[in-house]
């Protein structure tokens, strides 16, 4: 097909930058531009509490240009701050994923465990992440493990609940097939139950990572130390509003990237044609 059209009409060389003209790029670009202009107009008057975008850039370009400086203490570049927060999320979230998937499969495949534990989880999952921080501090006595515990306890509920649903929804026909083929318990688990639950598990992981990132910023404001949350709080105490704004933008972008990262992992494990 391609060769026949090529014969009729000389193919124009495709500009590698032509994606810039696609509506998917132009539309959000215009929206951002409008937003910035409105912001600029609203905040450029005398006595405005918040800086305008131009002021933000003027005041923070050293921070933006040099993300990895380290002046000791908590005076570090934004890259290092975010990296510190990401490390906490990585530890807490990984632990939540392992424990959550195991718990979810246990509960999803056993009516007894479901009846026993589900009501407890339904209550625990509604507790706001930060409400766990004092009890974690009391139990663990240290800031760092407490912050990680907050991430863990925040991320685990959506993982448990979605994995449970995934294990429960294994179609009856799959179970019948496995009975006809006389699968042992472990064969059933690895060949049927787990693969059937994988799409649900990833839904839980994506919600979990999003909540972790929400929680870490709040938790770090309270525990202090290096991390993007405390950076924001510190900037507020020093009245460096421009720095807060730039940090918020970074937090948003990292949150988006984390979500995309889990989606990417899912596309590796579950290719689109398998869904």
């Amino acid at each position: 097909m391609a060769s026949s059209t090529a014969g009729l009409r000389p193919r124009r060389k495709k500009n590698p930058l032509s994606f810039i003209y696609s509506p998917k790029v132009i539309r959000p670009a215009v929206a951002i531009a409008v937003l910035l202009v409105v912001w600029q107009i609203l905040c450029s008057g005398e006595g405005s509490n918040l800086p305008s975008p131009v002021q933000v850039l003027e005041q923070t370009y050293p921070l933006i240009l040099n993300p990895f400086f380290d002046n000791g203490g908590t005076d570090k570049g934004l890259g290092i701050q975010i990296f510190a927060s990401l490390t906490r999320v990585a530890v807490g979230f990984s632990a939540a994923a392992v424990v959550g998937i195991a718990l979810g499969i246990l509960i999803g495949s056993s009516k007894f465990m479901y009846d026993a534990l589900d009501p407890i989880f339904q209550v625990l999952r509604t507790i706001p992440p930060l409400a766990w921080l004092p009890i974690a501090l009391a139990a663990l006595q240290e800031a760092e493990p407490s912050a990680i515990f907050v991430i863990f306890i925040t991320a685990i509920w959506p993982i448990v609940i979605n994995t449970t649903v995934g294990a429960q929804q294994v179609p009856q026909d799959y179970r019948n097939v496995s009975r006809v083929l006389k699968l042992s318990k472990s064969q059933y688990f690895f060949n049927i139950l787990f693969p059937a639950a994988v799409p649900y598990i990833f839904t839980g992981l994506r919600i979990g990572i999003g909540l972790s990132w929400l929680a870490i910023v709040a938790a770090e404001m309270l525990i202090g130390g290096v991390g993007i949350g405390f950076f924001i709080w510190d900037a507020y105490n020093s009245s460096l509003i421009s720095e807060i704004i730039i940090a918020l933008i970074y937090v948003g972008i990292v949150g988006l990237l984390l979500d995309r990262f889990i989606a990417f992992l899912e596309s590796l494990v579950v290719p689109a044609e398998q869904k």
Partner: protein
């Protein structure tokens, strides 16, 4: 005698009394025979198949395969389910090989067997595709290949083409006749479609509803059956014999239905 069912009863006991699903079922399937059981909904035909597959246990009576009593599920009774039961995370080939893998066949044996049956169902070119990429008819053909790959003594089919459109269904019927003749396997198929039963089967059991009992056993002799291989194509549906069998079975099934509708009307 190959598959033999003797005095089979199945009663479901519930909170609001018990329901007799199957009553005094006696039937048999000879080696290499294609048998259909036709019944309206509520005739317990799926229960019957589940009992033979060993997924359910009878209240009384026995099921024997080659003289061996059925006590649980086993790969000697291959099952094709009504809904597509292929595993979406496995390719077509992996689905077909799955049963063999569990039986501990070598990789080469698995590959060859799967290739053979995929070729039989005409899907060898789709062996690396995932079920999602196949049409409904193709999925059921893979399911048939998967069941056949384990070399079952009898292939049990639970309304396998119920979810397909009529054109695909007719093509599947011809495929199935072809597979059956080439492999000389024994097949028991459950259906509510009278024409499907007459077209496919050598013998038909007509089941009544509530409780499910065998109302009539019919041997189907259509023109062309004496030839080898049997010459059943869709032209046969215009033969007077075909109508005769279809009418007979339909009126047997309808006899019960009219009683029920009258009971509702009065």
């Amino acid at each position: 005698m190959h598959l033999e069912i003797t005095d089979l009863n199945r009663v479901f006991v519930g909170k609001r009394g018990s329901v007799v699903a199957l009553k005094n079922i006696n039937m048999h399937i000879e080696t290499g025979e294609f048998v259909c059981a036709v019944g309206a909904s509520g005739s317990g035909k799926s229960t019957l198949l589940r009992l033979i597959a060993g997924l359910d246990t009878p209240t009384s009576g026995t099921i024997n395969v080659d003289g061996q009593r059925v006590t649980g599920p086993g790969a000697d009774r291959g099952m094709v389910f009504q809904h597509y039961s292929l595993f979406p995370w496995m390719t077509v080939r992996q689905n077909v090989e799955f049963g063999l893998k569990l039986q501990g066949c070598s990789q080469k044996e698995r590959f060859d067997t799967a290739s053979y049956y995929l070729d039989v169902v005409g899907l060898i070119n789709f062996s690396e595709a995932y079920p999602r990429e196949l049409s409904g008819g193709m999925k059921q053909r893979v399911a048939i290949a998967r069941s056949l790959a384990c070399h079952p003594k009898v292939l049990l089919m639970d309304e396998p083409f119920g979810a397909l459109d009529i054109q695909t269904k007719e093509r599947m019927h011809e495929y199935l006749i072809d597979i059956w003749q080439r492999l000389q396997c024994s097949i028991l198929m459950i259906t509510h479609d009278v024409e499907e039963a007459v077209f496919l089967a050598q013998r038909v059991y007509v089941l009544s509803s509530r409780p499910g009992t065998i109302q009539r056993e019919l041997t189907i002799n259509l023109p062309g059956d004496e030839e080898t291989p049997k010459n059943r194509t869709y032209k046969i549906k215009r033969e007077p014999e075909f109508f005769k069998y279809s009418d007979e079975i339909s009126s047997l099934l309808r006899g019960r239905e009219t009683e029920e509708t009258e009971a509702i009307a009065s």
